[in-house]
Each structure stands twice: as structure tokens, then as C-alpha cells.
């Protein structure tokens, strides 16, 4: 398991104000964290600073603190259902910080006590004078694991990397024009950022390919669907051979991403899974940014939850087409928005109906008998948006650049809507509702709202693909199609 930490910008600001003193001396404090447990990564979500009370610490160029302060902090952390972070500053430092021998001994000496009181590992963090963070985690026995990154989520996503564990990949010759657009430092950070694309239809595939071409090393695509003939007009690069071989969308996306990659060592993952199931959710928690290219309410509900609870920014978008009564086109609108603390959630900005999340989770949106009894038409087709889907992916990628690169120091723009007929780009004046459950659950990590469950539609899709693959017809195609694929463009 790798280790990381994350916090919202307001927490970062409060900690910086305490730890980076005007007199230039080191300082120390505690904070409560909550755990976010992914499949291969745990993240300590720093939720609430516990600043020292008079007499609990002293500053003398270095800083020291009393054992009572640790006991008070651990007790408060335990009462809040969290763990304890011990933080100190290196005012003259920059970048990821190592541990001096005295700091090592101090943190190690409290690891057992804190674990006993909170049931969670002690996390140590260091703040460098330029605002860079570093983190590590201690077992009860005093064994140390250094973190790989610390994320600060504000209008932009600021990540400090542990260069030893996640070194910056060398920029390649094919990235020359990319690097010249924003500089080597930004590229080094961007290339290491773990990005998950959920849903690889027309929009998701386009997004994933462009991330690969930009030089990102760790990109994952998650989808449980198989490629069908009706997808070929939108999934550029997918072939009739893929359909004949009953390939999954993630297999196809992975192949195309490998071709588009410009990094020397791409580490792209194909996740044939649903984010609505616990395993899919756990896999999603391993990533720093999620791009939501799904249209079903349940999946978007889950992503809306982890954007706040687990401090993983979710970039979401969608398109709607309006027709007149005579069937001719009236217009289309597409929207993009960054979902994360400080920005309105999908419910607050009117892009997700919680009641529809429940119906989707219950399977009612796919239950033909239920739909008929409700007066609906189960065979209703979704509109094809092939010509316009690139506009949605462009909008999502622009939000991605604002989030990670912050051109001109400006982060995400807030919810955007583009109206096709008049070609208006609008900044929507949407604000978080005072009672937003999702924003209110920021940094709760594994205590998040439980929205996952068995996703029957995903299981059925995977089962149908496996059945098709075992069929004689597909097995014959497996012998023939790859031969043609090497010689012809199917």
C-alpha cells in the first residue's frame, strides 16, 4: 500500500498560518485525519487542525511539545473517529522534506501510543517554507512508510511529489511543444498525476487519448461495457474487428492509448469494472483526478460523493440536444464543471437528481416491466451526439488544464454552459446550497455516504461478453481477425 495525504485549501491556509512563523522559527501542531482506503493507496485526509493551547508547546528555533498535547490530540481524534497527524515546519526548506534524526525519533516515540488511542497509524507531515508538504506513516511498531504525494485541493490542485518514490519522468522529444507551453516543472507534475477516466465512450476515449499524448504516465480507464457496432461512429479508432472479437471498451481504449502515448514508460490500466461497486470505488480512490464521462445517475452520484469525501476532484460534463416538435434540431447545450470542495456539487448545480440515483441503484431504469407500468417506453433510443461529443471532451480537458496548470494563476472557472445555436459560453452563477450533504461530508474518507452496491447491469454486460467470447463464432474470429488486423484496417 502506498501512502499519501490530502487537504482542502482552507486547512492548508490555517496550518501554514500557524507553522510558518514571521520570526522564521520552526513550529509544531496536531491535526485530525480521516482515512481514505483505495486498492493500492491510503490517503490521510487532514480534516481539522488541533492548534496547541498555552503551555503545550514551546518554540526555541526548533519546536518541542508536551506529551499531554499528544494525548489530548489523540483523544480528540479518536472521538471524531479519525487518526492523528503530527505536523512541523522547515521554514528554510522547499520541496519534499526528509526527516532529521531528532524528528525521526520524536515521531517514532509516539507511534505506538497514538495507534493504541485512535486505532489508526500516526501520520507525520512537514511543511516547507515555500508551502510544499511531505508526509509519512508509522505503524504501531514504529516502522515508517514515506508518502508519495500530498494534494491540496483549492481552485486548483497543488501536489507535492516525493521524487524518490515517484520521480518525474523525463520529457521526451515528442513532448517538446507541450513542455514549451507550460514549462518543465508543470510537465513534471502533470506527467506524474494519476488520472482515472470513468466511461470510455466517445468523450472518455477522446479524453484518455489526449492525456496519453500529453505524456501522463498513469492513466486508467474504467468501463464495464463491451464495444458494439453502434459505438463505431463515436469511438474513433475502434474497429469492426473489435466488435467481432467481443472486446471490452477498456481493452480498445487501452490499445489506442498505448499508440498515442508519448511517455517512455506508460503505465495505463484497464479497469473492467463499475465505480458503483465497492471494488470499482476502491480502484478509483487510487487516483488524483477523475474525469467523469458517464451519463447514468448512480455512477455520477458515487463520483459526486468521493469528490468531496475523498478530496479527489471530479471533472464532469454532458450534452443535451433539443428538437422542435417536427423533429428538426433546435439546439444543443453542453456543460462542464469541476466537482470538488469549494465548487458546487452535481446536485447543487442541477446536474444530478438524487431521486434518479436511487432509481438507477435499484435497477428501475433498466427494468422494462417497471418502465411500462410507469407509462414509459423501455426501447427509447438515446440521441447520437457524434459530431458534438468532441466539444464536451474539449471542455473537460480545458477544465483539467485549469485545475492542474492554473494558467495565469487562475484555477477552475466554475460551472460552464455552451449553447450551440447562438454560440454562447456562459459562466453559471451556481452556488453550493447551505444544506449540501456532499460538501458537508468533505474529508470524511471511508466514512462517506454508502452509495455502492451490486451493479447488476455491469455484471450482466460482463457475463454476456464472456458468453459471446466462448461461442464458436467468436473463437473462429479470434483465429482470423488478428491476421487481418495486421494487414488491413478493419
Amino acid at each position: 500500500m502506498s501512502v499519501s495525504a490530502a487537504m482542502v485549501a482552507a486547512t492548508d491556509h490555517k496550518l501554514q498560518r500557524h507553522l510558518l512563523r514571521e520570526d522564521g522559527q520552526e513550529d509544531v501542531c496536531l491535526a485530525v485525519y480521516r482515512r481514505s482506503t483505495g486498492r493500492t493507496r491510503t490517503t490521510a485526509l487532514v480534516a481539522a487542525p488541533l492548534l496547541p493551547q498555552p503551555g503545550e508547546r514551546s518554540v526555541h528555533v526548533n519546536a518541542s511539545f508536551t506529551g499531554d498535547y499528544i494525548v489530548r490530540g489523540a483523544a480528540e481524534a479518536a472521538a471524531a473517529g479519525g487518526g492523528l497527524v503530527l505536523l512541523h515546519s522547515h521554514p528554510g526548506g522547499s520541496g519534499w522534506q526528509g526527516l532529521s534524526q531528532p524528528d525521526y525519533e520524536t515521531e517514532r516515540s509516539y507511534a505506538h501510543l497514538v495507534h493504541e488511542m485512535t486505532g489508526l497509524p500516526l501520520v507525520g507531515m512537514t511543511l516547507a517554507g515555500n508551502g510544499d508538504w511531505s508526509c509519512r506513516q508509522w505503524t504501531s511498531a514504529g516502522d515508517l512508510t514515506y508518502g508519495e504525494s500530498v494534494r491540496v485541493v483549492g481552485d486548483s490542485l497543488r501536489i507535492t511529489w516525493n521524487d524518490r518514490i515517484r520521480p518525474a519522468p523525463l520529457a521526451t522529444a515528442s513532448q517538446e511543444r507541450t513542455v514549451s507551453s507550460w514549462g518543465e516543472t508543470v510537465q513534471a507534475g502533470l506527467a506524474r498525476t494519476r488520472v482515472l477516466v470513468v466511461g470510455v465512450g466517445s468523450v472518455g476515449l477522446d479524453v484518455a487519448l489526449r492525456l496519453a499524448a500529453t505524456g501522463l504516465v498513469n492513466i486508467a480507464v474504467m468501463d464495464f461495457d463491451s464495444l458494439e457496432i453502434v459505438n463505431l461512429d463515436r469511438m474513433i479508432g475502434a474497429t469492426r474487428g473489435d466488435v467481432l472479437l467481443a472486446r471490452s471498451k477498456v481493452e480498445v481504449a487501452h490499445r489506442l492509448m498505448m499508440r498515442a502515448a508519448t511517455t517512455e514508460s506508460p503505465d495505463f490500466a484497464q479497469l473492467d469494472a463499475s465505480v458503483c461497486e465497492p471494488e470499482g470505488l476502491a480502484a478509483a480512490l487510487d487516483y488524483d483526478v477523475i474525469i467523469s464521462c458517464v451519463d447514468r445517475p448512480w455512477a455520477r452520484g458515487v463520483l459526486n460523493t468521493i469528490a468531496y469525501a475523498d478530496l479527489i476532484p471530479v471533472l464532469d460534463g454532458g450534452i443535451g440536444i433539443d428538437s422542435f416538435d417536427d423533429g428538426t434540431m433546435r439546439g444543443a447545450t453542453w456543460r462542464t464543471h469541476a466537482i470538488m470542495p469549494g465548487q458546487p456539487c452535481l446536485v447543487c448545480n442541477g446536474q444530478l437528481d438524487p431521486a434518479a440515483v436511487q432509481k438507477d441503484k435499484l435497477g428501475l431504469l433498466d427494468d422494462e416491466r417497471y418502465i411500462r407500468n410507469s407509462g414509459g417506453n423501455p426501447a427509447q433510443e438515446r440521441q447520437n451526439v457524434a459530431l458534438l461529443s468532441a466539444s464536451v471532451s474539449a471542455g473537460l480537458l480545458a477544465q483539467f488544464v485549469s485545475l492542474l496548470v492554473a494558467p495565469g494563476g487562475i484555477g477552475v472557472p466554475g460551472p460552464l454552459r455552451y449553447a450551440l445555436a447562438p454560440h454562447w459560453l456562459e459562466h453559471l452563477p451556481v452556488e453550493t446550497r447551505p444544506n449540501c450533504t456532499f460538501e458537508g461530508a468533505s474529508s470524511t474518507g471511508d466514512g462517506r455516504l454508502v452509495l455502492t452496491g451490486t451493479h447488476h447491469r455491469a455484471r450482466e454486460s460482463q457475463a454476456a461478453r464472456n458468453l459471446q467470447r466462448r461461442g464458436m463464432r467468436t473463437r473462429v474470429f479470434h483465429r482470423v481477425v488478428p491476421w487481418f488486423e495486421r494487414r488491413l484496417r478493419l
Partner: protein, 120 residues
């Protein structure tokens, strides 16, 4: 200072009803409680319920099915008798504009009362 985890799930639903002066109890897989509503046959106190399984993400996501005893008949309904109490029926009802209320349990009570307006 410590952060508090927002109250979520079945217990939060029952606690919310309690704040509204409505006592709720678990019966099997259903949380039951009574509401006073004006139906087509006048003012009535009606027992109703919600499946506990639908309250996992409360109050972020509301339940879909409104559970009612078989004796309460609605004029238009998409209903079945699965995953409810013996002698009860669950009715499909969409709730609109979820997420605005200061007290989500109050919003749910208002929803149930509006459903019961159709009761015969």
C-alpha cells in the same frame, strides 16, 4: 476543535423524524412511522414506511418506494409487494427537488403526505 462526521444512514433518518416529533421503529427491513394526512376520505393517521436498504445514503439520496399497508389504496400507482412487510405494498413515487431542505426528514414527511392526498 474537531470535525464531526455528518449523521448519515438509517439512524440519521430515524433521528430526523424524531426531531420532527415522529417516532419511528425498525420492523424487519422496514423503518415504520405514522403520519397525519388529509386523504380523499378525510383526515387520517396512516402508518407508512421506508426500506432500510434504501436509507444507506440518507440524506444525500432519498428513498424511492413509499411503503403503505394494503388497506391504503392510491388512485394511480406502480406498486408491488416485494421487500416490504407482510400485508403491505410499496408504491413507486419520485420525489422532486431533493437536497434543498434544512431538515430532510421534514421533506420526506411532506412527500408522504402529498402521496397520501391520492389515498382513497
Amino acid at each position: 476543535m474537531t470535525a464531526t462526521i455528518p449523521a448519515v444512514g438509517v439512524d440519521a433518518f430515524i433521528a430526523g423524524l424524531g426531531r420532527c416529533g415522529v417516532e419511528a421503529a425498525r420492523e424487519g427491513g422496514v423503518v415504520t412511522f405514522s403520519v397525519e394526512a388529509v386523504t380523499r376520505s378525510g383526515r387520517k393517521v396512516v402508518r407508512t414506511g421506508v426500506a432500510a436498504a434504501e436509507l444507506q445514503a440518507w440524506p444525500g439520496v432519498p428513498p424511492h418506494w413509499v411503503h403503505l399497508p394494503v388497506g391504503i389504496q392510491l388512485t394511480r400507482t406502480n406498486a408491488d409487494a416485494t421487500e416490504t412487510l407482510p400485508g403491505w405494498t410499496r408504491h413507486s413515487r419520485d420525489i422532486q427537488n431533493w437536497g434543498n431542505a434544512t431538515e430532510p426528514a421534514q421533506a420526506w414527511l411532506a412527500h408522504v403526505r402529498s402521496v397520501l392526498q391520492e389515498a382513497l
